[in-house]
């Protein structure tokens, strides 16, 4: 079984985010494999160990993302692809287009990705990718079984578990709880150093700049305002209700 895993390199979740002149500062930041993608990588390696085949990891990201791919290779992935063309990551639609082109290069049985990336948290890319490929997808999977060209997935449905069966090829996004990702062994790291990382440009994927023209535009980047302390309403129940309605309508303007 050949599996493609989509990987993003993100800030370590413990890093503080510093924005200067509307740009997120990356200097000295510790980068990690997006934690949800780690589940995807682990699941792919386990499926390979059970069924054979190859695991390819792909990242659409800057040069530094190579380190995330090396980590995946050290964990046990076989090959890696880095598309480091800046145009390729203009927005979620662009990334999905590029990934679809990568996925068409080889006959994959399964594509695994994280539920969402912890940095921008859009959760769009994997699902857009499935749409582009015309494949079914199952999101937020916490248990996955694959046999005879079919997959049975347990998905986290807002607190309930939904059991979904689907034919391969298929796109799956991994939710926390799917597995306990391994961390690389030193031998794995040494082996990873010898595994290939293919660097692809848009042209290598048969894509033109117009194919990845973004649908969205970043207008401003800013940190959320500091959280204000809550307000405890007092008085009789009716007074509290009135104060709450007033606050929601006039102060917070969430109800009109």
């Amino acid at each position: 079984m050949n599996i493609l895993v989509c990987v993003k390199q993100t800030f370590d979740t413990e890093e503080r985010i510093v924005i200067e002149d509307g740009i997120i500062q990356e200097e000295g930041v510790r980068f990690v494999v997006n934690p949800y993608d780690e589940y995807a990588i682990e699941e792919a390696i386990r499926l390979k160990e059970a069924h054979g085949g190859e695991v390819t990891v792909v990242s659409v990201g800057p040069e530094r993302a190579e380190e995330a791919l090396r980590t995946a290779l050290a964990m046990g992935a076989d090959e890696a692809i880095l598309v480091d063309d800046p145009r390729a990551r203009a927005d979620e639609a662009a990334v999905a287009t590029v990934l679809a082109a990568v996925a068409r290069q080889k006959p994959y049985d399964l594509i695994l990705a994280g539920n969402y990336a912890v940095d921008d948290g859009s959760g769009q890319v994997a699902i857009r990718l499935a749409e582009l490929l015309g494949w079914p997808y199952v999101a937020t999977v916490i248990r996955l079984m694959v046999a005879d060209g079919r997959a049975t997935a347990h998905r986290d449905a807002e607190g309930d578990i939904e059991v979904v069966a689907a034919p391969l090829p298929l796109v799956i996004t991994a939710q926390q709880g799917l597995n306990e990702p391994r961390y690389p062994s030193l031998l794995g790291i040494r082996r990873a150093a010898k595994k290939p990382i293919a660097r692809l440009r848009l042209s290598d994927l048969g894509l033109a700049a117009t194919d990845v023209a973004p649908y969205t535009e970043v207008v401003a980047t800013f940190a959320p305002p500091a959280k204000q302390p809550g307000r405890i309403l007092s008085g009789t129940l009716d007074e509290q209700v009135a104060a709450l309605v007033d606050a929601l309508c006039r102060v917070e303007r969430v109800v009109s």
Binding site: E14, R16, Q25, E27, G28, E66, E67, R70, T71, A74, Y183, P184, S185, L186, L187, G188, I189, R190, A192, A193
Partner: protein
């Protein structure tokens, strides 16, 4: 290898190393970072959840974790690939040690095994010994310990009383004696034991636990590092096959010297990990503990402590990785070492720096854990807080791998020996400095760190001036002037520490960015504080050697050289602390 003048152990005292030639943590490769991350993950997931059980001396657990470390390759870094190891560079090995240091004193179980336990065979083992032992030691199927110290023989290691005598069959040595404070004794399968053949020739042997007559005594009740097993090793008529003699008979001191040297290096690196952990704990506490209506991290005196702690960690990290990089360069020169002995010999080129790092790092760690407890106030004295354990665990570092006193005596001794052998033009440099007496005080150099560079130049000068006088004044009798020797050691240590931090910051400044600014602030504050210690130490040493007019002449020179403009350390430390607090712990 074509050697530049600074490319020698001890040469930092007489030559300036170019910043671009020094190895710094900013130079870690992607593979180094992955290795560090793998070791960190191991500690975080496998060791730290069990710290309490490890402290209670559950040796089965220790062994399970060591085996797991073996599966992860964390015991194989320094074993050559030909013997089942990974043959990684010393920077990788150092990063593993640093990461493991955050696993309480389990780090010692790991460190004693991969370091003083395994390396004697890596460096001095015969082909047969390497083939028989190293694959199992690298994989974690067997564990090693090192047995040098005896009840009556500590710093004076060569006075060991354990004996080895060739049995009448000519195929065994019979070992008798007892060894003290043996790390990993509870579970080690293999012991590197020093004994004197016929009570005279100091030699090393590989002794297996299963050999008849091998026993261990009861566990010591130690002040700290309780998760590390420490027991006596008792040898009673133990038959050791002659093929288990390590190295040549009567040459055990060469093995001991080299292994201690590497042990000191590893100890220093471990202290870096310990300091970072203590700083993280102190920051966490200072940010959550509220007094007078605010987090104590907001108080300048707490910030000053955090800045001082971070600066020491930065300086120690800079010197340790500088030395590690020097050792790696030495090891990779001229197509690499011919054999294990050659590798040990190459590492020993930097034996002086290893001693310096050991002394500096263990004392810096002592300072940092002490302040970490202080920041915790009364809670720092309570076992529930990790700093209580860190404080106790840190203390041993100033004692083992050669007490800091022994190392302080070794530092000038090694330097003088190198000078006498013609390996280091130290005496010429001391003469040159004497001539400088009549010249004006050294000018400020060019560049971002002009004032700091000048202070360092003066620091080196004061070492040579004071050292030169000591040699003239005492000659052979200098050996008995331990206070003067220790003062010279302190000057060398301070110079190496300050220079390593300065070179790192210079290199970082070339690359620019916010981190470079942070490093620059730490260096500006630190170099001045170090220089004050250098100045005071050299003045007192001069006063201990001369008196009257002669002393007054020396002090006139001293005054001319030691004048400098102070900086606003208070303000800089607030800024340094601000960044540490924002980052939630040490960073550089």
């Amino acid at each position: 290898m074509e050697r530049a003048p600074w490319m020698r152990g001890g040469a930092f005292l007489i030559a300036d190393t170019p910043a671009e030639a020094v190895f710094t943590p900013e130079d870690f490769t992607a593979e180094h970072r992955l290795i560090h991350e793998a070791a960190r993950s191991f500690v975080e997931r496998e060791v730290r959840p069990h710290l309490a059980a490890l402290e209670r001396q559950d040796w089965d657990l220790t062994v399970r974790l060591l085996r797991k470390a073996g599966q992860q390759g964390l015991l194989a870094a320094e074993v050559p690939e030909a013997y089942g190891g990974l043959g990684l560079d010393k920077v990788s090995a150092a990063l593993i040690s640093e990461a493991l240091a955050q696993g309480g004193s389990f780090a010692l179980s790991h460190g004693a095994h991969v370091g003083i336990g395994t390396l004697p065979i890596v460096f001095f083992g015969s082909e047969d010994q390497k083939t028989r032992y190293l694959p199992a030691l690298a994989a974690g199927d067997k564990f090693a310990a090192y047995a040098l110290t005896e009840p009556e023989s500590g710093s004076d290691a060569l006075s060991a009383r354990t004996t080895a005598r060739l049995a009448p069959d000519g195929r065994h040595y019979i070992l008798n004696g007892s060894k003290q404070f043996i790390t990993n004794a509870a579970f080690a399968d293999v012991f590197i034991v020093y004994a004197k053949i016929d009570g005279e020739r100091f030699s090393a042997f590989i002794v297996e636990r299963d050999f008849p007559g091998v026993a261990t005594g009861p566990e010591e009740h130690k002040m700290g590092i309780k998760a590390s097993s420490t027991r006596p090793l008792i040898l009673q008529d133990v038959p050791v096959p002659v093929e288990n003699l390590l190295g040549e008979p009567g040459r055990g001191h060469v093995i001991a010297f080299n292994i201690l040297n590497i042990g000191r290096h590893k100890l220093a690196v471990g202290c870096v990990g310990g300091m970072k952990e203590a700083i993280a704990e102190a920051v966490r506490y200072a940010q959550t503990r509220r007094q007078f209506g605010r987090a104590i991290a907001e108080f300048p005196l707490i910030q000053q402590k955090l800045a001082d702690m971070a600066i020491r960690a930065f300086v120690t990290e800079s010197m340790c990785y500088r030395t590690t990089g020097d050792i790696d360069r030495e090891l990779s020169a001229d197509g690499g070492p011919a054999d294990g002995r050659d590798a040990a010999r190459r590492i020993a080129e930097y034996a002086l720096e290893c001693s310096i790092n050991k002394v500096y790092a263990s004392e810096a760690l002592g300072f940092v854990v002490d302040e970490a407890v202080q920041i915790h106030g009364g809670y720092g004295y309570i076992e529930d807080y990790p700093v209580e354990r860190m404080y106790r665990d840190a203390r041993i570092n100033r004692i083992f791998e050669g007490t800091n006193e022994i190392n302080r005596l070794l530092i000038p001794e090694m330097l003088l020996r190198r000078a006498m052998k013609g390996e280091l033009p130290l005496l010429q440099a001391a003469k040159d400095v004497e001539r400088e007496v009549f010249n004006p005080s050294p000018d400020e150099a060019q560049g971002v760190f002009a004032a700091e560079r000048r202070l360092l130049t003066v620091g080196k000068r004061l070492f040579l001036y004071t050292g030169g006088l000591a040699v003239q004044r005492f000659g052979q009798a200098l050996e008995g002037e331990q206070e003067i020797l220790a003062a010279l050691a302190d000057l060398a240590i301070e110079v190496y520490a300050a220079e390593s931090a300065l070179l790192r910051a210079e290199k970082a400044a070339e690359r620019g960015g916010g981190r470079a600014e942070h490093q620059a602030d730490m260096v500006r504050v630190y170099v001045r504080e170090a220089f004050d210690r250098i100045a005071a130490r050299s003045r007192d040493a001069l006063a201990a050697m001369e008196e009257g007019d002669a002393l007054r002449t020396h002090l006139a020179v001293w005054r001319k050289w030691t004048r400098y403009e102070p900086v606003n350390g208070k303000r800089m430390k607030r800024e340094i602390a601000g960044r540490i607090l924002a980052a939630g712990g040490y960073f550089a």
